[in-house]
């Protein structure tokens, strides 16, 4: 296998692992917060339904965490196995957050074990809920630290490069790059948003499949409310992300927006196709790109003409960007209509077709997550470390990457099928109605 092939297969394998891992990682970051909210509501309102909601979510959650541990270990090792040159450099400057991430995850794993095996162990339910706080903190901080590393790859700082040697290294400065605030906020809020919509999707599906139980209605309303809050947050953060890109990675923004010529009062291109370097069928919103980039309709936005041919990311990232933004907007609108409609008791929000839209929202949000990650990773090309190291110089020289790709593809297939089968079986076999009835019996049993 030649070196070009090694690079190609290393990229494919990394992309595959990340695309698969991000599903479990997103759920892993978001769900603990949902469980916490449900359990807290249950304790506060003395409502058995919310407690059961927390309990059933926990059961599903541990399965996704277990798979996430596996895929997370895979990507952790693959970084060194597939990109040894990059990791040698990165190890010198950005190892600190990677190291701290293991602590955050350690912390989460310990308390998840405890939380999982101590339901009903404490007289006071609040004590049990306290055990979930470290889980949620650990999960979210894992995401924070890993995103810090990704932010560094986009806007490296905290060192000087003198004759190819790294000098004046400042690990803390490397963590707090200009890319870091928007990226971290965006990853967190989309994880919460996606998890909420995924759970809403499940609730809506149960209601469609004939269950009339109020449990599902409570679950649906709660998750849609949380989803709405975080999708609004995501939109606000998205605006800041645009301003960050315009300032620090203008080539990424320009490629995403098919903004070829540097100009003042730049329009925003939505959708469309690229035909021989010409944009067709796009919706052109005047001045919108200048507003997104600089909050000023007259401002100048740097175009692709300012960059060398071989330093421009692939132009197809425009489609990924559009997919992400469109789904985000759609989910904001959908949840807003649902929440307002439920408050005002408008009937159509509990109609069949509307519930199907909510069911669809879960997978759609996940597609938005995938599109978003592909966008940010491909949009950084040809760099693995922007301006410092090209992707092609980072890859392994080993000749067996293609074989490893096949092995891992097989593994992910088994894991995907396994998690789907187990999760559906788990909740189909043990329905909410049955579990509530069982718990009622148990209580009466205690009295006798």
């Amino acid at each position: 296998m030649g070196n070009e092939e090694s690079i190609f297969f290393s990229r494919v394998l990394t992309e595959l692992t990340l695309s698969f891992h991000i599903i479990y990682a997103t759920i892993g970051v978001g769900i603990p917060l949902m469980i916490m909210i449900a359990q807290w509501l249950g304790i506060k309102k003395q409502d058995e339904h919310y407690i059961l909601l927390a309990r059933r979510w926990t059961r599903g959650f541990v399965i996704t965490v277990a798979v996430g541990v596996v895929t997370g270990t895979a990507i952790g090792l693959q970084l060194s196995l597939l990109w040894p040159n990059f990791m040698e450099l990165a190890g010198n400057v950005i190892a600190l957050p990677l190291f701290m991430e293991t602590f955050a995850f350690f912390f989460e794993a310990i308390f998840l074990g405890i939380y999982l095996y101590t339901w009903d162990r404490f007289e006071n339910q609040k004590k049990h809920m306290l055990l979930l706080i470290p889980v949620a903190i650990g999960a979210s901080f894992s995401a924070v630290f890993i995103t810090i590393v990704n932010a560094f790859m986009n806007a490296p700082q905290g060192f000087d490069l003198v004759n190819g040697q790294l000098v004046n290294i400042n690990p803390v400065l490397a963590m707090f790059t200009p890319a870091m605030p928007t990226k971290v906020a965006h990853v967190l809020s989309t994880a919460y948003m996606t998890s909420a919509f995924a759970l809403a999707s499940v609730g809506a599906y149960r209601l469609l499949k004939g269950s009339k139980h109020v449990y599902h209605k409570k679950a649906l309303f709660l998750t849609m409310k949380i989803g709405l809050i975080f999708s609004i947050a995501t939109a606000v953060i998205g605006d800041f992300s645009g301003k960050y890109l315009a300032e620090y990675q203008p080539e990424k923004l320009a490629a995403a927006e098919w903004h070829f010529e540097t100009e003042e009062g730049a329009p925003l291109m939505l959708y469309g196709v690229l035909d021989d370097g010409e944009v067709k069928y796009a919706i052109k919103i005047p001045y919108a790109l200048s507003i997104l980039a600089h909050s000023n309709p007259k401002a100048e936005v740097i175009g692709l003409d300012q960059f060398a041919e071989d330093e421009i990311p692939p132009l197809y990232i425009h489609y990924l960007f559009d997919i992400m933004v469109t789904i985000g907007m759609w989910m904001t609108a959908l949840s807003l209509v649902y929440v307002v409609g439920t408050w005002l008791k408008i009937r159509f929000v509990s109609s069949k077709w509307f519930r199907w839209l909510i069911v669809l929202g879960g997978p759609l949000s996940m597609i938005a997550i995938e599109a978003g990650w592909w966008f940010t990773e491909v949009g950084r090309q040809p760099w693995v470390l922007r301006g410092i190291m090209r992707t092609e110089d980072a890859a392994t020289t080993s000749g067996q990457v293609d074989l490893m790709l096949l092995l891992f593809a097989g593994l992910y297939l088994v894991l995907a099928i396994g998690s789907i089968v187990v999760l559906t079986r788990m909740f189909r076999k043990n329905t909410v109605e049955q579990e509530l009835a069982d718990r009622e019996l148990e209580k009466e049993g205690d009295l006798r």
Binding site: I63, A95, T102, F105, F107, Y117, W119, T397, Q400, G418
Partner: protein, 341 residues
């Protein structure tokens, strides 16, 4: 003590932690599968699952901690080991994945299938085998530096007696450590049949564990004389390790103080593991890489050590809580409580 030595000591200590907790985990999975195969599953499964279920993710983190830490403290290892370990490490990851999915699908998911239990049990033997190859490679003689990059000589690796004796040692050690621990655990759970069976396993596996360990020292003499002579300078540490080993076997044999026996076993492996590590100093990979020429910059090293101390302050109390609730909680160990979500 230099920063280099602090760094490698911390990592080596965590690797030791992984060796112990993972051995318990791997061996338990194997004994579980073996007893299912022999139709004696009722004796062991409950004991094993009760211990393993709440702690397995923690086990995995020890390993992640080690490989993230080594890239942090010694970034050049990412280049050297990253290039040559693509295949062995990928295989280890896939095997670890099988174990992780066993928990996901069987323990948490309720998918009861014999095939998973067997896969799980066997993966517990293959993982130490594939991971221990890294130790063999580190002794040198299997890696060549070509113009295109580093190349691992698989033929030399798989025909070397050193490779196979390290593999056998890792297997024997896994089963021995696990059996001793589970004897203690079963005894605490007042499960007599399980205690007896595990005690038998512990005695059986003590012999190959000590024999292969001695054999490796002999083989190093031919393979890496420099390392061998440094090992010999530390003969007294191996002597202490052997005395601790004898103590463990004596206690298990006499059916006395299983807890102390496990303590002695931990001591035995700790002393031997560090004696081996110290004699390996300063090389990370003979003869290419030492802890000095691969070390990170001073600023990063200090930052990592501060993070480590802070992290430890967070982790130790949490680990203590975990052990108190599950390992040292009478009701839980004896199976009177489950409380699973």
């Amino acid at each position: 003590m230099t920063l280099e030595v602090i760094g490698i000591s911390v990592l080596w200590l965590f690797l030791f932690g992984y060796v112990i907790v993972a051995s318990i985990d791997f061996g338990a999975g194997f004994f579980n599968a073996y007893s299912l195969f022999r139709g004696k599953q009722h004796i062991l499964t409950r004991i094993i699952q009760r211990y393993l279920s709440p702690v397995w993710e923690v086990t995995n983190v020890f390993l992640v901690f080690f490989f993230v830490g080594i890239v942090g403290f010694f970034p050049k290892t990412a280049y050297y080991y990253g290039t040559i370990l693509l295949v062995p490490a990928s295989i280890a990851v896939i095997l670890l994945a099988i174990r992780g999915s066993y928990y996901a699908f069987t323990t948490y998911g309720g998918l009861k299938q014999k095939k998973w239990t067997y896969l799980y049990g066997l993966s517990g033997l293959f993982i130490p085998a594939s991971l221990s190859i890294v130790l063999t490679i580190s002794e040198g003689g299997f890696v060549r530096e070509k113009a295109t990059g580093l190349v691992l000589d698989y033929w030399a690796l798989f025909t070397s007696p050193l490779t196979w004796s390290i593999v056998v040692l890792s297997l024997a050690a896994v089963l021995y450590i696990s059996a001793v621990f589970l004897t203690w655990y079963a005894h605490k759970a007042q499960d007599e049949p399980a205690t007896e069976l595990l005690r038998k396993y512990a005695l059986i596996w003590s012999v190959p564990a000590i024999v292969t360990a001695t054999g490796i020292i002999v083989e190093l003499q031919g393979h890496n004389p420099e390392h061998f002579s440094r090992l010999m300078d530390l003969w007294w540490l191996f002597g202490i390790s052997f005395i601790l080993f004898a103590g463990t076997v004596y206690l298990i044999w006499k059916r006395k103080s299983y807890g102390v026996a496990f303590g002695l076993l931990t001591g035995q492996f700790l002393v031997a593991f560090f004696a081996y590590g110290v004699s390996h100093y300063p090389y990370l990979l003979y003869p290419y890489l030492t802890i000095y020429d691969s070390f990170t910059n001073e600023a990063m090293a200090i930052a990592l050590i501060i993070a480590f101390v802070a992290g430890l302050g967070l982790l130790l109390p949490s680990l203590y809580l975990l052990l108190r609730l599950f390992l040292f909680n009478k009701d839980y160990v004896q199976g009177k409580r489950n409380d699973h979500a």
